[in-house]
């Protein structure tokens, strides 16, 4: 859970930088050029893409739901059950692909909400300044020190039925503070740029200055932030699932891991039940992080290597 460490890195990196690194030279084309040549981005993106595709497409080919008892119990991987079966005879592969789907969903919802909240708070605090800034900062600090997992544990228990989207929502609502901080710092520095003043001289309103002038300048950065939040949300969700506070319906990779552990998969040597979900999570999140560094190198000419 909680492994949002790299996020912070990116924030810091960004704080140390002018918001848009260097005068953009033929930005789009050039970015694309580097993107296509950046092994980190390609590998990371490739893995994430492949898993996403699996999560989207493979469930369509699984006839029965992931929790249906379809086969013999505790079978090792075979041609029929690619990843074997669980203690109860559920198809681990089916669970895995459905789990991928929910895992991506949690990432999307959690990461999305955290990104939106963090950005709104960050933009507002950074652009408005003054009292608004102080108050928002305070809120950010409070949320920051409240250990997200603990809040989530409590929140999870509070919800009687927990869906994946709801889980994502709660994760999103607790993991935005560092984004807010980072976006605020970025906004502060961008707001001193002359083009912001110029937009004001053109009669623009505050909100359109923020969203139409400032935000586009941070778009690559915001995108990277989202990716990190996405990965973070997946890890948090896995942590919650693991201690039994996961969704009460459906499957997710974390839940699979939880089930495998509670049902003694390790004890029984059923590695095919325990390993894939953990590996899946690690692969998704790890690839996201790698992709992020790749993106950083693409967007930031200073980091490019010729």
């Amino acid at each position: 859970m909680s492994e949002m460490e790299p996020d912070v890195r990116a924030v810091q990196a960004a704080e140390g930088l002018p918001a848009q690194a260097g005068p953009p030279e033929r930005r789009l084309g050039e970015s694309l050029h580097f993107a296509l040549r950046n092994p980190k981005l390609l590998i990371g993106g490739g893995v994430v893409g492949a898993l996403l595709l699996t999560g989207l497409v493979a469930p369509l080919f699984v006839q029965e739901g992931p929790n249906v008892y379809v086969g013999p119990q505790a079978q090792a991987p075979s041609a029929q059950y690619w990843l074997g079966t669980t203690n109860f005879g559920q198809d681990v592969f089916a669970q895995f692909v459905f789990g991928l789907r929910s895992t991506f969903l949690v990432g999307l919802v959690g990461g999305g909400i955290a990104a939106v909240v963090g950005m709104v708070v960050g933009f507002t605090a950074g652009y408005r300044g003054g009292l608004v800034d102080e108050v928002l900062n305070m809120i950010t600090n409070v949320v920051l020190v409240l250990p997200a997992l603990v809040v989530l544990i409590i929140a999870a228990a509070y919800l009687q039925a927990r869906g994946i989207a709801l889980q994502g929502l709660f994760i999103g609502l607790t993991s935005w503070p560092w984004v807010a901080r980072a976006v605020r710092a970025q906004t502060l520095s961008l707001a001193t740029r002359d083009f912001v003043d110029l937009a004001r001289l053109s009669g623009r309103r505050a909100h359109s200055i923020v969203f139409r002038e400032i935000a586009p300048n941070m778009s690559s950065y915001l995108f990277m932030t989202f990716i990190l939040l996405f990965g973070g949300a997946i890890l948090i969700a896995a942590g919650l699932d693991f201690i039994g506070l996961g969704p009460t319906e459906g499957v997710s990779l974390g839940l699979m891991m939880h089930n495998a552990v509670t049902w003694g998969a390790l004890q029984l040597g059923m590695w095919w039940w325990f390993v894939p979900p953990g590996l899946g999570i690690t692969a998704i999140v790890g690839s996201l992080y790698i992709m992020n560094v790749g993106l950083d190198e693409v967007f930031n000419p200073k980091l490019r290597e010729l």
């Binding site: 505790a74 203690n87 109860f88 005879g89 009687q160 509670t262 003694g264 004890q267 029984l268």
Partner: protein, 548 residues
């Protein structure tokens, strides 16, 4: 391998120490035998002791602190204590202590305070004899009290306030039992053998382990690791897949060598909310009961670690009370066709063609079966039950609310179907009937009759049973048959399976564990709270160091 630790200086000698786990869910914090929901493993049994033990496997009461008992007349009960029993501080254990213990029940916060609803007086006739006069002698319940309530030392407790009696940790417990409190920390507690235990002389009995280390429960996964590493000798946890371990690992055994491997500890019930339509209809309940394929549950999530319950729901230990003829006549079993025909006959038909039946009034049926989230075996069972019910056209879906939320809903009667196994093995089926039929129904039903089933006749019979002397098994059987007749027809609550008395032991360091083998001890192999009184403590007297 790996750190059983502590051998040699500074540790408990492995060969003389028994490691147990499975009871204590948090740091040991309470040694107060009165607070029977709270005290740490062994407080009663190891340290404090009751007058009698009840051995459910043999079906008999074992005099323990008491030497004998006698109903002098219908309303008068006299118990005689053994000679020479002493508290671990050297004071003698007398009839005064027994009387004092029951007098404590005058405090409303004492769990057995309801004894005074029908007990009139308690007095010490002499040093070793205590006499109890009853208003209404509830023999069954009294027998339950005599073995389940431990006796506390009057000389140490008499000045205690209610708060000290029912809200204090009672550190440094002084009892009469085979062990003395030695030490505890966050995740364990240690007992040392009491060299002066009365039973050594009186019964020529010795508890084998010099030390008992009870390990606080954590996750199943950890317990499994500990068991595999030989760090734990007795685990009373439900460990899925343990059957395979038992089969595959010669050093890990259980009571039975084959399915269900474990003794039965309680019945899991499917409780329909009888205040709601259509669960108020016995026919519907019966159809539901017939739809459930218990075998699928037993083989699926439980991998045969449990057995399907008898239609009466009575535990195997009470087999004697099951009226086989009645079961033959009115019992139910998995039979989808039967279920469908019951439904059809009672007017439940699928009128709107959605594949699910509607009530005779044509209202759609849409039931929810709730099971606490995280109780994975039950969750799987609930899935199977819903599937089974849907297969016969009853629209049941499972839901997994948080446990506490479920408890709220259950107490308030705001549910359709719920699974519950609250009542444990005891000396009498009366405890089960009390659980099923207790009246009147309160706003909040916290421990019994969650289905809010109202049947005066059954409740009267239950009370009659309560007032039947425990040794009058004939009378008991008669009353129970009457109860079963109605119960089987009404099916107010559907028995599902027997939850096991989860016990798996490692023979690496200790042998002669209870099992159903001829020459093995036949006691309960468990450290669960209140099970020492069910003879589990005797298991300790039978253990032998391995390799002997």
């Amino acid at each position: 391998t790996g750190g059983g630790g502590g051998e040699g200086e500074g540790g408990y000698p492995r060969a003389q120490t028994l490691y147990t786990t499975g009871t204590q869910w948090g740091p040991p914090a309470n040694w107060n035998p009165i607070m029977n929901w709270e005290y740490t493993t062994g407080t009663v049994g190891y340290v404090y002791e009751p007058l009698f033990l009840y051995d459910p496997l043999a079906g008999e009461y074992i005099p323990w602190l008491a030497e004998s008992e006698e109903w002098v007349d219908e309303d008068t009960y006299e118990v005689t204590l053994r000679e020479g029993v002493e508290w671990s501080d050297g004071e003698p254990l007398t009839a005064q202590d027994v009387v004092f213990t029951y007098e404590l029940g005058r405090f409303e916060s004492v769990p057995y305070s309801n004894v005074w609803d029908w007990l009139e007086s308690a007095e010490a006739v002499d040093e070793r004899t205590a006499r109890f006069e009853f208003e209404t002698p509830r023999y069954q319940e009294w027998a339950y009290f005599t073995y389940s309530n431990p006796i506390v030392p009057r000389h140490l407790w008499q000045d205690r306030t209610e708060e000290e009696v029912t809200a204090s940790a009672n550190e440094n417990p002084v009892g009469s039992g085979p062990y003395l409190y030695e030490d505890h920390s966050e995740d364990r507690q240690v007992y040392r053998r009491n060299p002066d235990w009365w039973a050594v002389e009186a019964l020529d009995m010795r508890v084998a382990p010099e030390y008992i280390v009870d390990i606080v429960n954590t996750s199943n996964e950890v317990t499994q690791r500990l068991l595999t590493q030989g760090e734990v000798d007795l685990s009373n946890n439900f460990l899925p897949g343990i059957n395979q371990t038992i089969e595959g690992n010669p050093t890990i055994t259980s009571y039975f060598e084959e399915p269900p491997y474990m003794l039965a500890a309680n019945t899991a019930w499917l409780v329909p909310n009888t205040t709601r339509e259509p669960m108020d209809d016995p026919e519907f309940r019966r159809a539901l009961a017939s739809s459930i394929d218990l075998q699928q549950i037993v083989e699926g999530p439980y991998s045969n670690l449990v057995e399907p319950a008898d239609p009466t729901g009575l535990l195997p230990a009470w087999q004697d009370y099951v009226d086989a003829d009645l079961v033959e006549e009115h019992g139910f079993s998995h039979d989808p066709q039967e279920a469908e025909s019951i439904l059809a006959e009672a007017g439940y038909e699928d009128t709107d063609g959605d594949g699910f039946v509607e009530t005779p009034d044509g209202d759609p049926i849409d039931l929810t079966l709730i099971v606490p989230s995280g109780w994975s075996d039950w969750m799987e069972a609930a899935r199977i039950i819903s599937e089974n019910a849907q297969a016969v056209g009853i629209n049941v879906t499972e839901e997994f609310p948080d446990q506490a939320a479920l408890t709220d809903q259950r107490a308030a009667g705001e549910f359709d179907l719920v699974i519950n196994n609250e009542r444990q093995l005891s000396n009498t089926p009366w405890t089960y009937y009390d659980y099923m039929f207790r009246l009147p129904v309160q706003d909040s039903q916290n421990t019994v009759n969650f289905g809010r089933y109202e049947n005066e006749e059954l409740w009267d019979l239950t009370q009659e049973l309560a007032e039947t002397p425990v040794d009058d098994t004939e009378a008991m059987r008669a009353t129970i048959s009457e109860i079963q007749e109605i119960q089987l027809q009404e099916t107010p609550i559907i028995p599902l399976w027997y939850n096991g008395l989860w016990s798996q032991y490692s023979t690496q360091h200790w042998g002669n564990w209870p099992s159903d083998a001829e020459d093995a001890p036949h006691y309960l192999p468990t450290t669960w709270r209140n099970y020492n009184q069910l003879g589990a403590v005797l298991t300790l007297t039978e253990l032998e160091p391995a390799g002997r």
